[in-house]
Structure formats: C-alpha cells, structure tokens
Amino acid sequence: MDGPGIAAYLILAVVLFATGSLGVLIRRSPLIILLALELMLNAGNLALLAFARQLGNGDGQIFALTVMVVAAGEAVVGLGLIVAVSRKRVELDVDRLTSLRG
C-alpha cells in the first residue's frame, strides 16, 4: 500500500495540534478547554502512529495506547475538578478562577 507518506500525516497532525492549542488559548469554558486538550493528545497520537509505520516498529503504537490511557485519566480528573468547582457555585470561566481558596 503506497498512499500518503509520513509528511502528509505529520502536517495533518500539526494542524490538528494547532487547532487544539488555539482552543485552549481562546476559550474560557473549562469543559471546552478539556475537549481541545483531547484534540492535542490525539494529534500527538497521529504523529506517533505515522512514525511507527514509517520505521516499521510497533513501539510507537504502544506509546499511542499509553497516551490514550493518560488522556482518559486526565478527562476523569479534569471533569471531576469542573464538577467540584461548579458545586461551589463559582462561574465556570477560567479567567475568573484565579484563587484556590475561593
């Protein structure tokens, strides 16, 4: 199979990563910031898998699976924090969440 080379996948991955970082920087809702973080992690996964195929080495796929596990854990803890913050009746806006002791 001789489809798109690794350069095409890498450019796709970096554009997706830039989209995710734009979301992290530009949005104020912590929920959407978490979603944009998932985009960035997935862009990293895409690059890992592209390199794994390029080098014919399965280690990159193991890395990608581990990154998925970390992303799942990050989503659990992040969502737990968001729910805990919203219980304090604080507005969900990362520009206003400036103090740890409310």
Partner: protein, 189 residues
Amino acid sequence: MTTLLAASAGNVLVWMVWIAAALALLSSGLAVVLFPNPFYSALALIGNLASLAVLYLLLEAEFVAAAQVLVYAGAVVVMFLFVIAYLGGRADAPWAGGPTLQAVAAIAAAGTIAVEVVVVVALKAGDELASPEQISESFGSPAEIGNLFLSDHLLAFEVTSIVLLVAAIGGVILGSAFPGERGSEKGLE
C-alpha cells in the same frame, strides 16, 4: 501491467479516503474549538475521533483504531456529555465578543506552531522522511500489540493500571461531597 494499474487504482482509493478523512478531521477539530455550546463541541469531537480512527486504519494500526473508537467515542465522550448535561445551562461560557487582544495572540501562537512544524516537515520531506517503509504482515495486529505489551513494555502496562486506579479514586473523591461543604450542598437542592 495489470498489477501496476491495480496498484495505482489502489493508491487513488487510499488517497481519496485519506483526503476525506483529513478534511473531516480538520473541520470537526475546528468545530470543537469554535462551537459556543459545549454539547455541540463534544458531539463534534465524536466526528473528530471517528475520522482519526479511519486515519489509524490507513496507518495499519488496527488495534489502536478499535481502541480509539471504544475508549474515546464510547467512554470519554459519553463522560463529557454526562457532565455537560449535569452542569446544564451554566456550562455556556460567553464567547468572546469581538477580537480581544488575547484572541489575537492565541491565533498568532497557534499559527506559529503550525507554520513552524510544517516548514520543518517540508524541509525534511525529501531525504530523511522519504525512506521506504518496511512493515511485517502482523504489524499493528492485536497479537503483535499484546506481545509487545507483555514483553518489552510490561512496566508501562502495569503502571497504566495504577494510573487508571488512581484516576478512578481521584474522580470519586472529587465527585463526593466534602464534610466542610454542607452549605453548598444544600444550595444545590
């Protein structure tokens, strides 16, 4: 000659699938970032993950693609949707009205990252990145992944289980009511 024709027809098909998946990936990624409602953002993330799974299949990572759909679309996004539904209307943060300084700086930063890496990849695309791919028949299969996980990467495999356990405990602790939080608990009811 016929094999050559068949090969190039296969290439065209791979390219078509790749372009469709790439367009879906980038547009759904932008949708995640730009939709004002977090609910629609989470739904767009499902499309993003599905098109990523197609790309993973093109990269001969069948097991990762299946795990991606199961773990992300099946579990993580559902968790996001639960939390968004639980938080209700309060989840809608105000979308920046007009181009603020922060938004302009964010677009500049993200564009800089993209342009920088694209230039590096384009500079290197000719030589180092163009080496031929040599892939064994079983590359990316569950058997190969399991073999790697239980031999070379056994420590990562075990640490993964601890990470998941700690994350689960942390989620429970964060989600349960603290004793000092009585007032805010009453406020919820």
